[in-house]
Subunit: 351 residues, 3 copies
């Protein structure tokens, strides 16, 4: 009997199905160091135990996106090994903070299936939950992917398409238990600008840029135990229309977030990802820059020390973030845009 994992085809998914994903992962200080080496991230809360303690947390939590990539990576062998396309994310909430030594595991529920009219592929919606060793939720999100059918002759299932919120409601954002920014040191954090200083519609060019190397994105994607073949196999890639290994989309998200420090240094924590599109593939050799726009600004109930900003961060390849490229008059993305990410961050207030 074939011992290797063939991945699931469209016919293998049914609404209500629960998938327990393999390879629980203890995340450590070693992962945090690699994450810093891969992206150069400088957000003080994740960089310094002392800084985290000044905000009443026990020590520096792991970067939110490192947690996202580890939780997400586990779903790949069961959800997207035969995926034609990653279509979107929604309703992604960062719940409990993750500390070095925590062990993460992921489960997914199938919440929607819809065959495409071509009869060859279908869209699968899964709601995935990452949990720690105490069974507490650390991350919670919905993702939909286009998957090949094993057999084009198999009948279409009843279409179920879940209703997804266009953004995570502000009232369901989680603030890490105990976190207080009343003693926030904006000199150590790297910017004097707090929640009050940002205005809806404001756009920020993050100035800096980084060129991607093959070794870097491969190291990152393996660190997350993400096994999608397109990222690692040049012999296979040479037979595709790109001729190159494709960079894991999450690598671009992390690069853009790290670059956004220059302009958003006090966005201490990602609370939610409302949606995201990888509008073009990225390859080694691309130089990535980023710009952001403030989409929304909200107080958090019962808190005068902390507010939320909903942001769009756009990553650009080999172009100028200073020009804020996005879409043309017909709404088509500029070819230099590789990521359009809609997410919500927590930022200290003057109170």
């Amino acid at each position: 009997m074939n011992k290797t994992n063939p991945g699931h085809y469209f016919e293998d998914f049914a609404v209500g199905q629960e998938l327990m994903h393999a390879t629980p992962r203890t995340v450590t200080e070693g992962d945090a160091s690699l994450y810093t080496a891969l992206y150069g991230t400088r957000f003080a809360l994740h960089s310094s135990d002392s800084f985290a303690q000044s905000l009443d947390l026990p020590r520096a939590p792991l970067d939110d996106l490192l947690v996202f990539h580890v939780v997400f990576g586990k779903t790949v062998p069961d959800v997207s090994l035969n995926a034609v396309a990653n279509l979107g994310y929604a309703e992604c909430r960062f719940v409990n903070p993750v500390y070095p030594g925590d062990t993460l595991a992921t489960t997914s529920h199938v919440i929607g299936v819809k065959e495409n009219s071509n009869g060859k592929t279908g869209v699968v919606y899964v709601h995935s939950i990452g949990r720690n060793q105490r069974d507490e939720t650390v991350l919670d999100y919905t993702r939909w992917v286009m998957v090949n059918k094993r057999d084009t002759a198999s009948p279409a299932p009843e279409a179920v398409v879940p209703e997804l919120a266009s953004s995570v409601p502000m009232e369901s954002l989680e603030v890490p238990s105990g976190l207080s920014t009343s003693a926030f040191d904006a000199t150590l954090s790297g910017s004097p600008f707090l929640w009050e200083d940002y205005g809806v519609g404001e756009r920020i060019d993050h100035v800096d840029a980084m060129t991607i190397e093959e070794a870097e994105h491969q190291l990152a994607t393996r660190l997350y135990q993400n096994t999608a073949k397109v990222h690692f196999n040049q012999a296979l890639a040479e037979k595709t229309r790109f001729g190159k290994r494709i960079v894991y989309g999450g690598h671009i998200i992390s690069l853009a977030r790290a670059l956004s420090f220059n302009g958003l240094a006090n966005a201490i924590k990602i609370a939610a990802i409302n949606g995201g599109r990888h509008t073009n593939p990225s390859f080694a050799g691309h130089t990535i820059s980023a710009w952001s726009e403030v989409l929304e600004k909200t107080e958090l109930e019962g808190r005068s020390d902390l507010g939320a900003l909903r942001l769009r961060t756009v990553a650009i390849k080999d172009g100028s973030s200073a020009d804020f490229p996005l879409k043309d008059a017909e709404g088509k993305y500029d070819p230099s845009v590789v990521l359009d990410l809609d997410y919500t961050v927590l930022m200290p207030r003057r109170g």
Copy 2:
């Protein structure tokens, strides 16, 4: 007086000689993270403290091959700096598990010497032992290398060639003290196939593949503090017949083991390496895939929860592991084969 290490020449080795190798090394969670980033390994026992605890171990032990590379790396300056060729390994046993925080050191005994008929080189056999800070053996193996003579005029020593077992006897395999797989969770480990499901002669194509980058194999080999010049020095390499840096053979072993997860996910631990041949050099740019064959299947005395499988895992460069390439009719290795490894793994049984 010359302060640098000239390495040992054939005349410097004598049967009975003991070599204490330099640079003890504390291995840590940081090494484990790098190992994951370098190979994308997903074996649950090494990935998760919680999973290790479900098997009654205190926490996730470090990957067996990481231990092998660190123990082996220490022998390079004393044994193989002037080596012409690494001829083989045998009788390699993984004894006590290694945990983050343990400090490893290596000693070697010279157990054989035999001058070659050309009078220019000789073969040296060393038995090396890696020990932790409590002086417990963690790894134990024999290796033989061809070494240059300093002076072709020096007389040949009495030839001593040790008898080496063609495989580590099953009765001398070590199971980590306390390990029990009675509560083994095959969903979390990533495969439903246990010891009973594998048959002698069965061949498995591991499907996945990875392309090697220069930065990756250099980072790996330095992590192991292996100083062999051929891996790092492009200026020197350009004067060789290859024109390129050679990838450390152990890097290929680790890649092949990580790829073998897809088909052998429940091979939770390497207990022994019976022998191995690096049949062709590997270079950056090669895409490595792998296939395995079950050579032998054995019960372990006194254990109904765990069995042993003797495996051959073959690594292929830029070829198709689905064709199971190995040797031609005359017994000559296929040019795509870079590694032919004979080793023994532990795998849970249904009991």
Copy 3:
């Protein structure tokens, strides 16, 4: 208002000014592993907890240069973002050892400013101090950089040029509290040569060499959270006279120090950097080798177990360290020289 950091221009610096740099950083075992993977360093004190304990330290301290790079990296956004050139270092002392878990932060005092005669740039001298979470000094150094003026019309400040020692006085070298080398094991450390065996004027070719990859120097420089654009942005680099990303000078210092193990294995600790010049830029693809000269040899007051050696270590690109290249008859550096480092190490004595 512009939210991004424009960096400081010459006019922004004034003698007496204090700069508190952003992003405190907890350094960990993960950073130590990455440091080993990046440079292959083998000094036993930093590699092994057991070895460190044999010298009466609690555990292996982090490599001195890792500490230097992290402390230095924090100064970049405030001191050298608009720098035209890094002109020099002096009076750099390594004070308290740094252990995994310590949190480092950096402050700088401006101790000199001098406008250049062209009216377009000026030289700024800063004295920087790295401290741990207990506010103890771990590193202390002076650096001077050439910085652009924002406005060439702005008046020149009164010139203040600090007097800097040509070397750190031996009496102000710090030996880590508690360190004793009375039980020093020269077999484990990798060399029989102790302080008594080195003579002033002695030159050592370190034999080994390493070729730099883009991914390696980028990973290193990001690990240190050093944000200088020239190291990461190929799109920008293509418009410069080099056409390439420049390797962070500290990466070369670390490579040279790691290579110097072969000949200086018992130089267990860097106590001071007296001065250093990056005489030529380094790029990916360069093969770096190194040689050293003993400049001075000093006893340490009250210690018979430990002495100091003042060394010059010269790093060479794509050349032969066996030829000891340095300067031509007119005192101009050989084009193959990329680093001329003057520093002081501690080395065990026979007593």
